[in-house]
């Protein structure tokens, strides 16, 4: 076929749409070429579609490089506000003392405590709801059509972001930390509950049958046969959700619910960029340390423990032992 020199037939050969002749190997080669051509056609179509959608999105949001160019000097000026320059022993550096002074002056550490308190209380109060909805939504616990009532409830809760829950609940608790805690409580029931449900779908039948065979009642089958399989995973998800709720609490602060977010927004409105950055630094430290703690807890839970006897080791493994003792593992 390759001896054929007319451009059209060469193209046909390349695309694999020419005459189907020759040995089985030739025919297969032709077939593969055709498949490749079809694949490329679809890929090309995908690229065109994506480009069209991208164009639509950019024009809708008013994305403009000219605007960026125009505003850039102002941003650079703001940067010197965010990172106030100074010199230490003649070496230029960021004036961290300014941040520190503002942190003390505006009692930002107290504000951080408020943020943590909102997240912690919200997670703890939402946990029973999350457990209830999470377990009842599992097909293993409540048979098929009925478990959807619980699934749907959680979907509705999740469809409304925590920040909107605060707006809904303002008539109940006013604008403040109390309402933020209520919002996180509801958010946790929908969000953590869903994670629990997903985890419960993965459990094995064996232990459930094992417990059932002893003549245990339904709630014992659920707790010993099912929940025991996901106990560690549930703890890990709770830690993850606490981490998530700290970030949510900061966001809620921005719309007036107190804590670090509130202070951040006050400084933004008054164009005090240095003070704003002081808040952001604390946000990063706060969210970062909660994430670190939650990661440590989760990796503790993942590790299979071996008996350790050293004093130092006992100290290191204490958190895990405290957690495990809650499950009667001793």
């Amino acid at each position: 076929m390759s001896s054929d020199s007319s451009p059209i037939s060469r193209l046909q050969t390349y695309l694999g749409i020419g005459d189907r002749a020759g040995s089985p190997v030739d025919r297969k080669l032709q077939d593969l070429k055709r498949r490749k051509a079809v694949r490329r056609l679809w890929f090309g179509l995908g690229v065109v579609l994506f480009a069209a959608m991208m164009n639509w999105s950019l024009s809708l949001v008013g994305f403009s490089l000219a605007e960026l160019n125009r505003q850039f000097p102002e941003f650079v000026e703001a940067l010197t506000g965010y990172f106030p320059p100074t010199t230490y022993f003649g070496i230029p550096f960021i004036d961290v003392v300014q941040y520190w002074q503002f942190m003390i002056e505006a009692e930002l550490f107290a504000a951080s405590q408020m943020t943590i308190a909102i997240a912690l209380a919200g997670t703890a109060l939402g946990l029973p709801g999350a457990l209830f909805f999470g377990i009842m939504a599992s097909e293993r616990v409540v048979p098929y059509p009925f478990n959807f009532a619980f699934r749907a409830t959680m979907s509705v809760i999740r469809a409304i972001p925590a920040i909107v829950w605060v707006l809904i609940l303002i008539p109940l608790g006013g604008v403040g930390p109390f309402t933020a805690t209520l919002a996180i409580t509801i958010d946790t029931a929908g969000y953590l509950g869903r994670l629990f449900t997903d985890e419960l779908e993965e459990i094995e039948d064996g232990p459930i049958e094992g417990i059932r065979s002893t003549g245990a009642n339904k709630s014992q089958i659920i707790s010993f046969g099912m929940l025991s399989q996901v106990f560690r995973q549930f703890l890990a998800w709770i830690a993850f959700d606490l981490e998530h709720n700290v970030r949510v609490a900061i966001t809620l602060g921005v719309i007036g619910a107190g804590g670090l977010g509130l202070e951040l927004n006050i400084q933004r409105r008054t164009f005090n960029y240095t003070e704003m950055m002081a808040c952001i630094i604390l946000v990063v430290l706060l969210a970062g340390s909660v994430e670190l703690l939650s990661q440590r807890l989760r990796s503790y839970l993942r590790e299979d423990d071996s008996e350790q006897t050293g004093v130092l080791e006992a100290f290191v493994t204490a958190p895990r032992k405290i957690v495990q003792s809650g499950m009667g593992r001793r």
Binding site: R212, T214, G215, N217, S223, F231, D304, G328, R329
Partner: protein
């Protein structure tokens, strides 16, 4: 002392007939259930335990029909089906779940006598020292022994075991079967144990029931269990070893049963 009556039990899964009109009675014996995979052994055991309901027929324990899982029938599974995150002790204790409320069992608030019973069961299977260990850290043989202990804590009148040693090495398999026999003798319960290993079956069984394609093929005493009978059950598999050894061994069998204990 109990009597299990299987009265013309049939079980169908859609088009497939897993059990076809099976009837027999067990009276204070250690019975081995033989048959190929898919012969209906597991289905029969699950029906007796109430994990599955027969399509037709009746299963009675001391005259009472079995309709759902209850503590009177203990079950030992091939994959042991323990709660892996819990200790051997906590797993043995789950055998007493039906005696206590959910809240008390969750808080491990059973009375002293029940806890002692769980430890005694673990002692019977040689795991008293390991009682605090998490099951997930134990070997397959040890896990199966915890499974035996759990079944014994139920204080059952009848014990079932579904291929309890199929996933164990020959030595563990023998010791686990030894413990199972010992526990059954100690608690004076009848047992129905399905097995793949004909050697082990011949060694421990007091009576043999053969299933093929869901039908009862034979119901034999140790003397009646001949190589020909086994060959017939498995359709002439050359490597099924119930050859000359058994006939020579059968004279010393009574001592051999005691040996691994």
């Amino acid at each position: 002392m109990s009597t299990l009556t299987i009265d013309s039990v049939t079980k169908e899964y859609g088009e497939v007939t897993a059990l076809d009109d099976v009837s027999f009675e067990i009276d204070d014996e250690f019975v081995v259930l033989l048959g190929e995979s898919g012969a209906g052994k597991s289905t029969l055991l699950r029906c007796i335990n109430g994990l599955t309901e027969p399509t037709d027929g009746d299963i009675r324990l001391d005259g009472d029909s079995i309709t759902r899982s209850n503590a009177a029938v203990g079950m030992i599974f091939q994959q042991h089906n323990l709660v892996e995150g819990l200790s051997a002790f906590a797993n043995a204790l789950t055998g007493s779940l039906n005696e206590w409320s959910t809240v008390r069992t969750l808080l491990q608030q059973q009375d002293e006598a029940t806890k002692t019973r769980a430890l005694e069961a673990l002692e019977t299977v040689g795991l008293l020292e390991e009682a605090h260990q998490r099951v997930s850290q134990m070997s397959g043989g040890q896990q199966q022994r915890v499974g035996i202990a759990r079944a014994m804590v139920q204080d059952p009148t009848f014990v079932l075991a579904d291929e309890p040693v199929a996933s164990l090495d020959p030595s563990s398999a023998e010791s686990v079967m030894g413990y199972l026999k010992k526990a059954a003798d100690l608690h004076e319960v009848s047992a129905l144990v399905s097995l793949h290993q004909v050697n082990i079956a011949a060694h421990f069984g007091e009576r043999f029931i053969g299933l093929r394609d869901g039908e009862l093929m034979f119901d034999a005493t140790p003397d009646e269990l001949t190589p020909a009978l086994v060959d017939d059950l498995y359709g002439n598999v050359e490597t099924v070893a119930l050859s000359e050894e058994r006939t020579t061994e059968s004279t010393t069998e009574s001592e051999a049963v005691e040996a691994p204990l």
